[in-house]
């Protein structure tokens, strides 16, 4: 049942050390503000799930919040590598990281299975590839009608899913539009959820068949204007491509990453202060 609250309270309440956490968003509506707050509150031993872990996961990993990552494509979209993810995998910095790797279709099927309360998702996938050699959670079953071999992957059931959406109403009904990714499934599959939104309004004015999460299936709802920056929120602001490029420099070495995080994330009390800290200077503050 939705309750409207501050983001810091939501993270304090819903994200616990050791949790399985999904911060979802497929290039659009990525819950950056919520991710920052997880770093500020120094959550530890998280298993983080995401189809496309990007800069916010780089921040979480480099800040030592993450024990394990479950993913299908980990990069800085349009730019290149995630240096903090690579440093963790290649050199155990700041901590060793366990990797459970899938393909997109498998991850989507795992979320859908979780939302549908099925123990596993079914797909034509993984056949003949090396992922199956390193991921014991990919199995194969035979179709009882045709005998065909199909892949089976276990359902995602996160402890908490975090997403960003465009609007909520005062009851906590959530509306999103545009590229909606796997967010509905990720929320429905989770035990708890946090939804940050651009604005809380009296009436969603949702068009017919819009993607709406009813108030009684979401948990914390927090108004955080611009909370998807540097990704975008359709109808509100565009993607900040410059930040994604700049992140390549910021994150390339441990020292510049740490000092940037100290200044802009750990050294600010919330997302509004973070945005202010960026505004007075060139991005990244070098």
């Amino acid at each position: 049942m939705a309750h409207i609250t501050q983001l810091s309270d939501a993270i304090r309440d819903a994200v616990r050390d050791g949790d399985i956490v999904a911060l979802e968003g497929f290039t659009h509506l990525i819950p950056y503000a919520a991710g920052h707050e997880i770093v500020r509150q120094a959550k530890r031993d998280l298993t983080v799930i995401r189809m496309t872990p990007d800069v916010i996961y780089d921040m979480l990993i480099g800040s030592g919040c993450v024990k394990k990552i479950v993913f299908s494509w980990g990069g800085n979209p349009g730019v290149g590598s995630l240096h903090r993810l690579r440093d963790a995998v290649e050199k155990d910095w700041p901590l060793p990281i366990e990797v459970e790797e899938h393909a997109h279709a498998g991850m989507a099927a795992m979320y859908a299975a979780g939302a549908a309360n099925l123990p596993f998702g079914l797909l034509r996938g993984y056949i003949g590839t090396d992922l199956t050699k390193h991921n014991g959670r990919i199995k194969f079953i035979d179709c009882p009608f045709t005998g065909e071999k199909l892949a089976a992957v276990p359902a995602h059931r996160p402890d908490v899913t975090v997403i960003h959406a465009q609007k909520a109403d005062r009851k906590g009904n959530v509306l999103m539009w545009g590229v909606v990714g796997v967010q509905k499934e990720a929320v429905l599959a989770a035990k708890r959820s946090i939804v940050t939104v651009e604005e809380i309004v009296d009436d969603l004015q949702a068009p017919p068949n819009a993607v709406v999460l009813p108030y009684w299936v979401v948990g914390h709802v927090c108004e955080v204007k611009g909370g998807a920056f540097p990704s975008y929120a359709q109808g509100y602001y565009a993607r900040n491509n410059a930040f994604y490029k700049k992140w390549d420099d910021i994150s390339k070495d441990r020292e510049s990453f740490t000092s940037w995080m100290d200044k802009h994330i750990k050294g600010t009390k919330d997302f509004a202060e973070f945005k202010l800290s960026l505004a007075g200077q060139t991005l990244g503050g070098k």
Binding site: F26, T27, H28, M51, T52, F71, S72, W73, G74, G75, P77, G78, S81, L82, L85, R86, V89, E90, V99, E101, H102, A103, H104, A105, A108, A109, Y111, A112, L123, R124, G125, Y126, I127, G128, T129, D130, L131, K133, H134, E148, K149, G178, V179, V180, G181, V182, K184, E185, V211, Y232, Q234, A238, R239, N240, N241, A242, Y244
Partner: protein, 259 residues
């Protein structure tokens, strides 16, 4: 009057020419997106661009920087969820052509975009991973692979098989019952390789203007099979070059504005 162009431009244009008008096309970021949009603005105006973010029939005026840019969903005929995109559309067998890039490729057009060097657990270089590539490779009607041609990329043995081409060659793909027929061409900055109809081994069938067969062989990490007659890829036309450059310029201008 000979036109001036770069090898990357040649590669993009050669890839664009492979696109049949009206075909539903699964497009990634970078070269595939440039090739698809070039095709749409030249010989294949009805090409249907599908980005894995769920945007079907996108009609961008500039090249997207991410696979889910706002302009893609704003111009698309339909925008669906990710589970629907992968189950009903890609796995559903509706996509005629998919584009893939790669860090490594072997002689049977299997590709690696996962790890380079070391072990899987402790790689020398950790790459982004499969993303949608496995399913594109398995389910699209056919696949085009584009990458720059050099010995680091064209290897005898992949460090990791991320997405399957023809596996061990011959009928080994057919035996796995994958819905799509597999890669039909590998388009590089030097030339075009196509699979042998029987053995499925990649064979050099075309070199780009100014490139020699010997050069391509030298940049390939296995003894490259060469067709008895190797074509020369037709040069970019004035129109192709103009449209591609205009697309790139508009893209650069549009994205520079997004600070």
């Amino acid at each position: 009057m000979a036109l001036q162009y770069t090898s990357d431009e040649m590669m993009t244009i050669a890839a664009a020419r492979k696109i049949r008008n009206g075909a539903p096309l699964f497009v990634g970021i970078g070269l595939p997106s440039a090739a698809a949009n070039l095709a749409r603005q030249t010989h294949a105006p009805d090409t249907i661009l599908i980005y894995e973010s769920g945007t079907i029939g996108a009609k961008p005026t500039v090249l997207p920087l991410s696979i889910g840019d706002g302009e893609l969903s704003e111009t698309a005929d339909a925008v669906v969820s990710i589970p629907e995109m992968f189950s009903y559309w890609l796995q559903g067998g509706r996509i005629a052509l998919g584009f893939l890039g790669a860090a490594q490729i072997d002689k049977y057009a299997n590709i690696n975009s996962t790890v380079i060097g070391g072990t899987y657990q402790r790689p020398k270089v950790r790459l982004p991973g499969a993303g949608g590539a496995q399913e594109i490779a398995a389910s699209c009607g056919e696949v085009l692979i584009t990458l720059r041609h050099n010995k680091r990329a064209f290897v005898e043995t992949l460090d990791f098989l991320t997405s399957g081409g023809y596996f061990e060659g011959g009928d080994s793909r057919a035996k796995l019952n994958l819905p799509g027929k597999g890669p039909t061409a590998v388009i590089t900055d030097l030339g075009i390789l196509t699979p042998d109809p029987v053995t499925k081994e990649l064979t050099l069938t075309s070199v780009h203007p100014g490139v020699t067969v010997e050069q391509v062989v030298a940049e390939t990490g296995w003894p490259l099979k060469v067709a008895p007659h190797v074509d020369t890829t037709p040069e970019p036309t004035e129109k192709e070059l103009a449209v591609l450059r205009d697309l790139n310029e508009r893209t650069a201008r549009a994205h520079a504005g997004q600070q």
